[in-house]
């Protein structure tokens, strides 16, 4: 974690004497460990007791709830990293697996995260009957599914674009696969991976809040946490408690940023592969503390030594396999294709069987119609949000002083789980008898519109100064300035932001189109509310149908619109 120079390790005796930074780091680490231990211990309580323990709205419980919510996030993140390393590496290294794994990944990231929580809850509960662990795992699994895909993609893409010279060095010095993984592949993919981890975390808060209180058919599972706290507050129509929940969430996200992400980003700066010294070096107060800690360096030394030793381990045989032959056997290919196609056909057949026993064409049509409604909401709102945030983002991005102030705020808002705000919206909609079909729309992009804003800010602030000066010099103004200077300049950034925002909006529809306040329900026509209602009713065939149709639409939407725009932006509007 820290970044010691090997030379300082010689003076071990001196390094053992703690200095004042050690105390700070020690407190943070031991405190974290103790709290983690409590959390794990309580997760072992049998399920009956958790169903009886209702979440209380006493604000003094909130630190405990916040901690549990955070631990779920961390647990899911650890799982995501493990999955990323294995799945990404498999896909990048085996041509045959790549053929199957990458499309699967592509579809999986279009599947609504909250859609299949009903299945996973039942699955994990059956794995650990009578223990809360099952429910905890189901919740973490939901968060995991919201985090993992883009991380895996990023890792896979890094592995596919390893610099040729470094790859040759690794081969010519005959690195073992293990050494190569930790010395070349993981470090090279680090910057992309960390960025995607941040994006994932930021999206994850939404899902942790949504999946802590789940009702599937007759079973309701409430896991102590901020999400469950707010869910209880909704049931009891307690606006003050909701306020407390919002405050706690804010504190948690800010702390998370300071204690985890800033250090990570600052640390990962050394993995930038371009060799030029960057102008903007990310800094982190907390990382500085860790780095100045001598004690921490000393106690982790055995671990680092042992890890270093594994890198030097060699298989008894000294022969190094040749790189894969460029022309692989046609027969192996053929057999593999047949297996894959047969497998896919079997799965498809099972799906059709399962769905068609209870459902007919009318159900499919209805699901498709509802998906169109949701799609219209997504398109209209992304367009509206773009109209609002692009000019504002450009205005801010061109002013460095404002950028420094607004950018962290925009990132915070993107991370903040918008579903915590939904009760307020329900109250408004009910009070003023607003048309739910229209007013749930803004809620769908409430949390994700910020991705557009902060990407546009980033684009505008990265806009080359000489081009700005040239535009001023030639007196390019007004609409011409937007059309020929600024919009093309920020376009790649805008597309990135809009893709994230649109994906988030689809996912949010499951929560936003079907909201409750006590016994009042605000529901709009859309595939999101369809899935939510079917989940509540425990109607599994219709849940599957809803998820399938929505995933299909999202995938097509991505292929036809976003991916094309992205390629176009990447090819035509790069500013390098």
């Amino acid at each position: 974690m820290s970044n010691p120079s090997y030379l300082s390790l010689g003076s071990t005796a001196r390094a053992l004497v703690p200095n004042r930074w050690d105390l700070v780091a020690l407190l943070v680490i031991l405190g974290g460990l103790a709290l983690a231990a409590i959390g794990v211990h309580q997760a072992q309580v049998p399920l009956e007791s958790i169903q009886q323990t209702t979440v209380t709205l006493d604000p003094s419980n909130l630190p405990d709830y916040a901690l549990r919510t955070t631990l779920r996030m961390l647990g899911a993140m650890v799982g995501s990293l493990a999955f990323t390393f294995i799945y990404g590496a498999l896909a990048a290294k085996s041509r045959h697996l790549e053929l199957v794994l990458i499309p699967i990944l592509d579809i999986l990231q279009s599947v609504p995260v909250l859609g299949y929580i009903s299945f996973t809850v039942v699955f994990f509960m059956s794995l650990f009957p009578g223990r809360v662990l099952g429910a905890e795992l189901a919740c973490m699994f939901a968060i995991w599914t919201s985090q993992v895909w883009n991380m895996t993609f990023s890792f896979y893409q890094s592995l596919r674009t390893l610099p040729l010279d470094l790859e040759e060095v690794s081969r010519s010095f005959r690195f073992s696969a293990w050494q190569r993984f930790w010395r070349l592949e993981v470090p090279f993919s680090m910057p992309g991976l960390i960025w995607n981890m941040m994006m994932s975390m930021s999206g994850g808060w939404f899902f942790v809040v949504a999946s802590e209180a789940i009702t599937v058919g007759d079973t309701t599972i409430t896991l102590p946490g901020i999400g469950a706290y707010v869910a209880t507050a909704i049931q009891e129509k307690n606006l003050i408690a909701i306020g407390w929940g919002l405050v706690t969430m804010t504190v948690v996200i800010v702390l998370y940023d300071i204690l985890l992400f800033r250090p990570l980003v600052a640390w990962s700066d050394k993995f930038r592969s371009e060799l030029t010294a960057g102008q903007l070096v990310p800094e982190s107060f907390f990382l500085d503390i860790i780095r100045r800690t001598r004690f921490l360096g000393t106690i982790t030394l055995p671990i680092r030594r042992a890890f270093g030793a594994t890198l030097r381990l060699r298989a008894p045989s000294r022969t190094i396999a040749l790189p894969r032959l460029p022309v692989p056997s046609k027969l192996v290919d053929g057999v593999w294709y047949v297996i894959v196609i047969a497998g896919a056909a079997y799965c498809g057949w099972q799906l059709v069987q399962y769905v068609t026993t209870t459902l007919g064409w009318a159900d499919l049509l209805e699901a498709a119609k509802l998906t169109v409604f949701t799609m219209i909401r997504v398109i209209v709102l992304i367009a509206l949000a773009s109209l609002v945030w692009v000019p504002i983002g450009v205005w801010i991005g061109l002013r460095p002083g404002w950028t420094a102030k607004v950018q962290p705020l925009a990132q915070f808002l993107a991370a903040f789980p918008a579903n915590l705000m939904f009760p307020v919206a329900v109250v408004m909609i009910v009070k003023y008898s607003l048309n739910a079909e229209i007013w749930v729309g803004p809620l769908m992009i409430l949390g994700t519109q910020w991705y557009i804003l902060f990407n546009v800010i980033a684009g505008a602030s990265a806009f080359p100064n000489d081009l700005k000066e040239a535009a001023t010099n030639f007196r390019i103004r007004n609409w011409q300035w937007w059309r020929t200077v600024m919009l093309p300049g920020i376009f790649p950034y805008f597309v990135t932001g809009a893709i994230t925002a649109s994906g988030g909006a689809w996912n949010a529809s499951i929560v936003a189109e079907y909201m409750k306040w006590g016994d009042t329900t605000v529901s709009a026509n859309g595939i999101g509310s369809y899935i939510a209602r079917m989940t509540e009713a425990g109607d599994y065939p219709r849940i599957v149908l809803g998820i399938a149709v929505m995933s299909l639409f999202v995938t097509v939407f991505n292929r036809l619109l976003w991916r094309r725009l992205y390629t176009y932006a990447a090819n035509r509007m790069r500013l390098d």
Partner: protein
């Protein structure tokens, strides 16, 4: 050193390459031949240079020797064993330095030892010794991005030395450095080599810099392109340190220039290209560079004739950058090359004396008649009713003869020249050739 070089020919080679051939599959049917029937032997105590233009396959040959690429035919024998993958005792220094940016200097040097599985203590001791030898003391904990290019390449050398290799392979190790730094590094390396301070027994150096080859090598192998093959072997028996201004040294440089520019003639005499074909591989050369060189040649003291090494030095261009320009000029008919000298043709002189519009006319006229691909594209456009043709039409034609990359470069070269000559225009977004002139 000189006594060593005289005896080397009788010594058993450390590494030998025999009958090596390398082909790559083309986009359309068939293979592109990169290397054809290459033999080479590396004996203890010598530095052997592989000198060739880009595309002559010299880097491919080096990588085959390193066991990084498998040859399509022939074999590589190192210490009586066939090389089937990266072998112990063969280390490489890279043009791009190829340092791990996330590792410190010390960690980078240690990375090679880590792969040998030596103990941590031994690893540290050997790494520090190598760092000391190469002159990197004090930089152990620095990251590569904090270092200058020269220092980075020193790390590259230290990393290669630390594994005690018998053979050092160098892939244009100085070409990414500025002139002064490159010279310092070369001198330092030669000093360590002649004083016997390096563990290595033999060096194979890939370069496109003729002076560098004459300065460092005991033997120089000249590679010709398309397909890459060794056309000459030159022994350099001057004692180290060598003097660049020594007439013998200059004579050798001139001689090698001559051999490398004679390439064109030899291919024609082999009857391969009786008439220049559409599928001739063209290099992208800016028309600005051509005009500039023509103006330089037309002015005094050259007056239409110049020694190539002199021109190269004056323009700070290495042979790899200079020859594509002179060849393009020769192809279009603006200049001629004989025995390492370049002469302006009558057209070239006319071009030099003309104004911008007249130059374009001269250029267009000669492009049409002397570059078959340009003429071909123009004819197709003339014949078609809409005077438009998609890029893919010509691309697929070229790819029947050239590799994908070469076809792409050839098309880009012709597009660049035709745009200057206003012969036809090209829309990159639509990937479409046309006769539309945006100015009309």
């Amino acid at each position: 050193m000189t006594s060593l070089t005289k005896t080397v020919t009788t010594v058993e080679p450390l590494l030998s390459v025999s009958g090596v051939r390398k082909t790559f599959p083309k986009a359309s049917a068939g293979d592109v031949v990169i290397l054809e029937d290459v033999d080479l032997a590396l004996r203890p105590g010598e530095i052997v240079g592989l000198l060739g233009r880009s595309g002559s396959g010299k880097s491919t040959l080096l990588r085959i020797t390193a066991g990084l690429i498998t040859p399509s035919g022939g074999k590589v024998i190192y210490r009586n064993h066939p090389v089937t993958g990266p072998a112990e005792g063969i280390a490489m220094v890279f043009q791009t330095f190829a340092l791990f940016p996330w590792l410190t200097v010390l960690e980078n040097v240690e990375a090679g030892l880590e792969a040998l599985g030596v103990s941590e203590k031994v690893m540290r001791r050997r790494a520090l010794a190598a760092i000391d030898l190469i002159g990197l003391d004090g930089f152990e904990s620095a990251y590569p991005r904090e270092l200058s290019g020269g220092m980075r390449q020193r790390v590259g050398f230290a990393r290669a030395m630390v594994v005690d290799p018998a053979i050092l392979l160098m892939d244009e190790p100085f070409s990414a450095l500025d002139v002064l730094t490159a010279e310092t590094l070369r001198t330092d390396f030669l000093e360590l080599w002649t004083e016997g301070k390096l563990p290595i027994q033999s060096v194979l150096l890939v370069t496109h810099n003729i002076e560098e080859a004459v300065l460092m090598c005991d033997r120089i192998l000249v590679l010709a392109s398309n397909p890459g093959r060794i056309t000459a072997e030159i022994k350099v028996e001057l004692p180290h340190p060598r003097n660049r201004y020594d007439p013998v040294f200059r004579g050798m440089v001139d001689d090698i220039y001559g051999r490398m520019t004679a390439r064109q003639v030899s291919t024609v005499s082999e009857g391969k290209a009786a008439a220049p074909a559409i599928g001739q591989w063209l290099h992208r050369v800016s028309t600005n560079l051509m005009s500039g060189l023509i103006e330089l040649l037309a002015s005094s003291p050259f007056d239409g004739r110049a020694d190539l090494p002199v021109i190269g030095e004056k323009l700070q261009l290495e042979v790899d950058d200079l020859l594509p320009i002179t060849e393009a000029m020769e192809l279009i008919g603006l200049a001629e090359m004989r025995d390492g000298d370049i002469y302006l043709t009558t057209t070239g002189r006319l071009f030099a004396d003309s104004d911008v519009q007249a130059r374009k006319r001269i250029f267009a006229e000669h492009l049409l008649s002397n570059v078959p691909l340009a003429g071909h594209i123009r004819r197709v456009l003339d014949e078609r009713p809409g005077h438009r043709a998609p890029r893919v039409r010509f691309e697929s034609e070229l790819e029947d003869i050239l590799s994908e990359d070469a076809a792409d470069e050839t098309l880009r070269a012709v597009i660049g020249w035709a745009r200057y000559a206003e012969l036809f225009s090209y829309d990159d977004k639509a990937e479409m050739f046309s006769l539309e002139n945006p100015s009309e």
